[in-house]
């Protein structure tokens, strides 16, 4: 009888002995039977004490990584350390059963239908290496845990307050909201001129909520083959549901949820799927927040703006004076520059977006560099350079604000764009 057979018999006679499972797993590993090793380690985890459990998890992770490397091809990118932590958190018997099932699944033949992918996509996150065959675009979308918070967003006090009230509080006080039968999931639509930080604010919101953050762009969904785009979108929603609490961020949402009355029939199917998935989030799954960002809220299908979908619309206006001063400071920080009056610069750059301010700073640097190249005399960037760069830059938000102004004039009967109206009341005369 060889060692392996002896260990198999041992585990059969003493299935509660975690140490036996550990040795069996190690033997399988030595002989290159990775799948059987994973199975043995998983069985061992069920019965192990804290110390052995940690050891088993380490071995399991290594086995899984080995399996993933062997399989090659498209594989899900998983941070082993992170997953190890997740596995350590697994205490519920159901989760262990899930893990077992996963190992069994992997041992079976791999002939599967496309519809099964989404579920498997999730499971691969819970157990690295056990799920490696994913062809859909959605599987390639990384899930982040944003480290940015509202402290990193310059100014915009009012906006932060609104987001706190409408998004973060429900997410963080779920007990209270559940008592009032108020759901913490759903959809929020951030809209405003380009370059004003909608994406950054969405990331900061995810950071504040301590939720996973899945960024989705039209390129992650769109596929030339009929029905595949819809499947990709569905897979992404499934992924977010399995990883709650999570925030799905749809950048340029008008490209995905384009107004059906203006679009072709194949795009309509995508919007229909989007609507169906949003409904699913609203009715069955809390703790999944969908944030959409768009420069063209009027191009988003009206059905997506109805209650239950993106029912909260938040206007991300160009940065206010305080925010602009902070952005200038941030952009010029650590540069070879003299002390500057950022408040004065902020005052002269009304309606400038964050991206415009960045452009001003870059232009000022270019001016100085050009001068240094010509004269050979090195000097710091000063206020004059900034003012010169500022005079050469036009705010890119003006065109958007003018369109919005006209749009609101003819369309705001429903009060959907009250935020813009408020903003225009304050600044509209100068647009």
């Amino acid at each position: 009888m060889d060692r392996l057979e002896w260990l198999i018999e041992l585990t059969a006679s003493r299935p509660e002995d975690a140490q036996s499972w550990y040795w069996l797993g190690m033997e399988h590993m030595n002989q290159g039977n990775t799948v059987q090793a994973i199975s043995a380690f998983t069985e061992g985890i069920k019965h192990a004490d804290e110390l052995l459990r940690a050891q088993l998890i380490t071995e399991l992770s290594q086995a899984a990584v080995g399996l993933q490397q062997k399989s090659g091809g498209l594989s899900v990118q998983v941070d082993v350390q992170e997953e190890q932590e997740e596995l350590e958190e697994l205490e519920e018997p159901e989760e262990l059963e899930e893990l077992e099932e996963l190992v069994e699944q992997e041992g079976r033949s791999n002939g599967r239908t496309r519809g099964e992918r989404s579920e498997r996509g999730f499971k691969s996150i819970a157990n690295p290496g056990l799920q490696v065959i994913e062809g859909g675009k959605s599987s390639q979308i990384p899930v982040e845990r944003p480290t940015v918070s509202f402290d990193d967003v310059a100014g915009l006090k009012e906006l932060k307050k609104t987001i706190h009230m409408r998004i973060i509080s429900p997410f963080q006080n779920q007990g209270l909201f559940a008592k009032f039968r108020k759901k913490s999931g759903g959809g929020v639509l951030l809209y405003g001129p380009p370059g004003c930080g909608k994406t950054f604010i969405a990331k900061a919101t995810a950071g504040e909520c301590r939720a996973k953050f899945v960024t989705v762009h039209i390129t992650d969904i769109l596929d030339p083959y009929i029905g595949v785009s819809e499947q990709n979108l569905k897979d992404l929603f499934d992924k977010a549901r399995y990883q709650k609490p999570s925030i799905m961020f749809f950048d340029e949402i008008d490209a995905i949820g384009f107004n059906r009355s203006k679009s072709s029939s194949n795009l309509r199917a995508l919007v229909d799927t989007f609507l169906a998935e949003m409904e699913g989030i609203d009715t069955s799954t809390d703790q999944v927040l969908i944030i959409g960002a768009t420069n063209m809220p009027w191009d988003v299908d009206p059905a997506l703006k109805r209650p239950g979908r993106f029912d909260r619309m938040i206007f991300v206006a160009p940065p206010d004076e305080e925010a602009r001063a902070q952005i200038y400071e941030l952009k010029m920080h650590d540069r070879f520059a003299e002390d500057m009056d950022y408040t004065r610069l902020a005052k002269s750059s009304e309606f400038f977006s964050g991206a415009d301010i960045d452009s001003v700073c870059e232009r000022a640097v270019e001016i100085v560099l050009e001068e240094i190249m010509n004269t050979g005399v090195e000097r710091k960037i000063n206020m004059k350079d900034m003012e010169l760069a500022l005079s050469k830059t036009q705010p890119s938000t003006l065109e958007w604000l003018r369109t919005a102004k006209n749009y609101v004039k003819y369309s705001n009967q429903s009060g959907l764009y009250n935020d813009i109206e408020e903003y225009l009341k304050k600044y509209g005369k100068r647009i």
């Binding site: 769109l222 030339p224 490209a255 384009f258 107004n259 203006k262 795009l267 009027w298 749009y407 003819y410």
Partner: protein, 289 residues
């Protein structure tokens, strides 16, 4: 760029073009052209995007490139025809359309486009025949129905019938709302016309032409301009002048000097108001904003 990446890029280009985001599509086409500079189909699409953005010279250049790289001549000539119509080069437009029709005599859209060219150049009879041919080939052709509604000389009942058929066509909602607005405008139902144009504008707020239409509606139907509309209803400034001068002369002839002075004063005030009314309206609007 790999084949799959190019395929995905192509799909994205189609997506943006389908949405009418031609500038975004152009950026993507240039990316693809960097990999495949001799791909006629990409040059054709680039030309099409520039044409939709009214950049006619660039569009023509790209269509010529597409042709030199072997892309389908018939497809290019159709766009070339539209482009020449836009540029006012009627003869070239006709040549282009005729070339397409020689290759494909059953193309309803080209018949409709050719009919439009004939209407523009005053050949109403030929235009009617071409429109009839277009509708015989494809009874639901949106373009043909639109032109038939707009230009063909018909009774009200026939116009309504064409409009109903057009509403069932595959044209965009914006185009349909514009046609409804025009129909109301033709029948002097101004407030309904304004509402249709407003709805069309809401679907496409970046459309400057629609914005101008809305502004002109607001200007023409402003409450402060009501007296001028009354003048229009009674026959225009000429009639008003006759009424004003006639009243002054009449009261004077009857020896009612005081009444004549009052009528003269009112008339003078009205004349000054009619000259400055538009300016006053603009000022009031500016103040309200």
């Amino acid at each position: 760029m790999e084949e799959i990446a190019l395929r995905d890029q192509d799909s994205l280009i189609s997506h943006y073009m389908g949405m009418g985001r031609y500038q975004q599509a152009i950026n993507l086409i240039y990316e693809s052209l960097a990999v495949n500079p001799e791909e006629g189909y990409l040059h054709y699409r680039l030309g099409l995007c520039h044409y939709y953005l009214d950049q006619l010279e660039e569009a023509e250049l790209q269509l010529a490139n597409a042709l030199s790289f072997g892309f389908d001549r018939e497809i290019i000539m159709e766009v070339q025809g539209h482009l020449c119509v836009e540029a006012g080069r009627w003869q070239e437009a006709e040549e282009a359309y005729l070339e397409v029709l020689r290759e494909n005599p059953n193309d309803a859209s080209v018949h409709a486009a050719y009919a439009y060219l004939m209407m523009k150049t005053g050949h109403q009879k030929k235009a009617d025949q071409l429109l009839a041919a277009a509708l015989r080939l494809d009874p639901d052709n949106a373009q043909a129905l639109r032109y038939r509604f707009m230009f063909a000389d018909k009774t009200r009942e026939e116009k309504v019938e064409v409009l109903e058929r057009y509403m069932h066509s595959t044209d965009s909602d914006t185009a349909k709302l514009i046609q409804l607005g025009l129909d109301c405008l033709y029948t002097n139902r101004y407030s309904r016309a304004r509402e249709h144009f407003r709805q069309a504008y809401l679907l496409d707020p970046t459309n400057q032409n629609l914005l101008e239409v809305m502004k002109s509606f607001d200007r023409d139907f402003h409450p402060l301009l009501a007296p001028l509309r009354v003048v229009g209803l009674i026959g225009g400034p000429g009639v008003m002048w006759v009424i004003g001068i006639g009243s002054i002369m009449g009261t004077r002839a009857m020896g009612w000097d005081k009444a004549s002075l009052i009528v003269g004063g009112i008339y003078l005030l009205f004349v000054i108001y009619s000259w400055s009314a538009l300016g006053i309206v603009s000022l009031v609007d500016k103040f309200r904003r």
